[in-house]
């Protein structure tokens, strides 16, 4: 039962990212929230990991994600799910404050299920950038063909991390039940879409993101 490294036990010099991660991330350190992601977000990241690295964790040549850091962000608040007949709408907010300064955003996508088979019929879903006082809502179209049923919509233009101008991203998850309507109770709500941040962590000790010429940039 190793006690997590207490900050005091580490050298005063800026610790290596791995030690820093240990210091910050290890359970028992300050601010550790209990509920880690599970279910579909976890399965998605495990698939992404297996695609990028072998069983011993060695990055697979030619399979690079094009960067050394990918962060999955869960929606921090889901407004009340509201069904109106066949329609379902849910506001989602992703908090982005406190991103480490050394992590520079390369790309950001929201991952969701555009087409969910139900016991009767199916659920067709889309994402919309929530309207604000200054700008109307924007329907987000998937940037890539769905893979294993998941679609990725690119939201990079709406996040200007780094200069801290964006503290959160507000979306609306909209679905409609297609096909014959089943019983009277509303079907299970679809899983919450999650945000993927593809970041280049510029700290020493992090593998350069596919910097070597022989690695193909996606």
């Amino acid at each position: 039962n190793q006690s997590p490294l207490s900050p005091g036990s580490l050298p005063a010099v800026p610790p290596l990212p791995l030690l820093q991660a240990l210091q910050v991330q290890a359970p028992g350190s300050r601010g550790w929230q209990a509920e880690p992601a599970s279910g579909q977000p976890l399965r998605y990241m495990l698939n992404l990991y297996r695609h990028a690295a072998d069983r011993e964790g060695r990055p697979r040549h030619g399979r690079s994600l094009g960067t050394n850091t990918v962060r999955l962000v869960l929606a921090s608040s889901h407004g009340d799910q509201s069904w109106a007949g066949r329609w379902y709408m849910q506001p989602l907010t992703y908090r982005l404050e406190g991103q480490p300064k050394a992590e520079h955003l390369l790309r950001a996508t929201v991952v969701y299920l555009p087409n969910l088979p139900l016991a009767r019929g199916r659920l067709l879903c889309a994402l919309e950038l929530a309207a604000t006082g200054e700008a109307p809502g924007v329907l987000l179209s998937p940037a890539t063909r769905p893979r294993h049923g998941w679609a990725e919509a690119d939201v990079t233009p709406y996040l200007a991390l780094g200069n801290g101008s964006v503290g959160s991203l507000a979306l609306r998850h909209i679905c409609v039940r297609a096909g014959r309507v089943g019983g009277h109770n509303a079907p299970v709500a679809p899983s919450h879409p999650f945000l993927l941040l593809y970041l280049n962590d510029t700290q020493a000790g992090l593998a350069p993101p596919a910097a070597e010429p022989h690695r193909h940039r996606r």
Binding site: M45, G57, L74, D201
Partner: protein, 124 residues
Amino acid sequence: DTGTLAHDLPGYLREQGREKSDCSLRPFPVSFAQLGWDHWIIAPHRYNPRYCKGACPRLLRYDYHAPNHAVVQSFVHQLVDANVPRPSCVPYRYSPISVLMIERDGGILYKEYENMIAESCTCR
């Protein structure tokens, strides 16, 4: 001595050969549970950082990537002053590993850390 060595270097090297106790790369697979990190590291399940162990031979062959300084230090240890230690057997090249971990706020993070697996050894 030096003259003899230099004169008969090829024979000396053949005779030297690679002793079992020579500086070489050895495995030591470890689980993140043994390191107490399994609470937050999801993958990989297996991690073999490997290590370098063994004596640096008296005459450093080219395959040790030893710098000239190590060759000189080895001669000094043998011919001048045994208090100057032989060169040490340390890793020479490394490779990165990718890690999947849980973040404090419940998110999931994929990171590639460099210099996490020793790939070869050298005498320095």
